[in-house]
Amino acid sequence: MIPSIATVLAMLPAQTRVRIEAFAREARSQLGDDLVSLIVYGSAVRGGLTPHSDVDVLAVVRRDDAAFLARLHGAASLARAAARLDLRVLHVDEIARAADVFPLFFDDVRGCHAVLVGVDPFKDLVIHDEHRRLRVEQELREARQGLRRLVIDHAADPPTMRLELEALHKRMRGPLHGLLQLHKSHARSDLTAVLDVIGARLGVDTVPLTSRAIDALTAADATARLLDAAIADVDHLQTGST
């Protein structure tokens, strides 16, 4: 899904929109032709942006020496303070080369972004399923380990455990969506859709993950069941390329 930037900006709060547009103007003015593209991605495009969400912006550049990057200091700090703009910078040559180690991040951006300035650098990107599979497995296993620690750390504080679980679920969204892509499933990439589809596919009840009525320990166990099933699934996948 690649919506027009006008559609994406129209969905943002007015104050945020003004700041993002100002940042884009400033970035173009400061970096000139060495700014290949400026892209909005994440929840601002996918949906689900809350007043506390970061607005994810990716700058793709031809130069990355310190003096060049420092030109963005003023505009980036202002946009961060005013609109929580979270800037990530990639060198244009890095996109194809890093697709093996960032397959899920690139999938996420490629699948749902809007171009603020310049061209779409992800248009012709090839990501191999084997790289996706490895990254999915790595991130799911990291989430599983994080879950164990989370339960130990917050066992005496269920509300905090709930918040930490929600943060973990957000981090799980990417690898679980990646797993669905490996199965050639074209589910939406927002967390609710991903949990619904992956739960149905793996035969795991995902309702306890998101239901506020269920206690934190039960939610943690449900999360563990989902992660275990997803890890077992990805571990046995045969992969190709897309």
Partner: protein
């Protein structure tokens, strides 16, 4: 003029005249302050903004040269304390306490006392001085007193910086504006003198005199307060308040942020730091 003194309100009975005089003279005196503010703004000239694409702002961002604090650019380093001073002495106290608590050299104990930790030394000279002042037992008994002492002792240097940056008016201009603001009191005094042509009451003359002295005092206090900051400073603070919405929300929500970001919010908002303030133990300063 003698004929004018025989028309209303000068010809009115004493009680009526005094009531009218007090109302009129207050309005006229405040008008004088207003005139001084307007004249000050005109003398200040237009507000300058920083075009981020200018090479000046770029060099200041890269090599840390002090930039003039203007709309369009966030403060760097200890410029944030100049900003806090412009917002008010309480804001400077908040910024200093936040800088210390967030960097770990200042702590509010469970008993509500300030504890300065010797083993952490602030990098910035201004904060190092602040730490020394707070560590001095003579700075005050309560945390609030000690913070106020630190802010007051650091204020002259910060005022000099603000003046050099064009954010505080020069002393001669401030003095001129204070004198100008007294013009309203002079006009009010003329109204009172006219009454003396028709009234020989000592009691009434005394009341007029007391009212005028009181108004002159109030006008001077108001003028000192309202004419010190350059128009540029008010524009700067107003712009800054509008430009840190996300940062402010993050600080109040207790999100983990760099020290500089929290101090910036403290400089602009004072001790209204929400959960971050509570986490740093600074909520003691917001409790009455």
């Amino acid at each position: 003029m003698f004929e004018l003194a025989h028309t209303w309100p000068w010809s009115a009975p004493m009680e009526v005249f005094l009531a009218t005089f007090i109302v009129l003279s207050v309005v006229i005196s405040l008008g004088g302050v207003l005139v001084a503010i307007v004249v000050g703004n005109v003398l200040d000239g237009p507000v300058r903004t920083t075009a981020l694409s200018s090479s000046a702002s770029l060099s200041s961002a890269v090599i840390g040269v002090q930039a003039t604090l203007r709309p369009g650019q966030l403060p760097h380093g200890d410029e944030v304390f100049v900003t806090a001073l412009l917002a008010g002495l309480a804001h400077l106290e908040a910024a200093l306490a936040t800088a210390g608590a967030a960097a770990g050299w200042l702590r509010v104990t469970d008993r509500g006392e300030l504890e300065v930790l010797a083993d952490v030394v602030p990098d910035e000279p201004l904060l190092a001085r602040c730490k020394e002042i707070l560590d001095d037992p003579g700075a005050g008994r309560t945390p609030r007193h000690r913070l106020r002492t630190a802010a007051l002792r650091l204020r002259p240097d910060l005022m000099a910086r603000a003046e050099a940056l064009g954010l505080l008016r020069a002393v001669d201009r401030r003095s001129g504006l204070i004198l100008l603001s007294l013009a309203g009191v002079v006009v009010a005094a003329v109204l009172g003198v006219l009454r003396l042509f028709v009234s020989t009451s000592i009691e009434e003359a005394n009341v007029i005199q007391y009212v005028l002295w009181l108004e002159a005092g109030l006008v001077v206090v108001l003028a000192i307060w309202l004419t010190a900051r350059h128009r540029q400073a008010r524009a700067w603070l107003s712009w800054l308040e509008d430009s840190i919405d996300a940062l402010r929300a993050d600080v109040r929500a207790g999100r983990d942020l760099p020290v500089g970001d929290v101090v910036l919010v403290a400089a602009v908002d004072g001790f209204r730091l929400g959960r971050t303030g509570a986490r740093l133990g600074l909520d003691v300063f917001t409790k009455v």
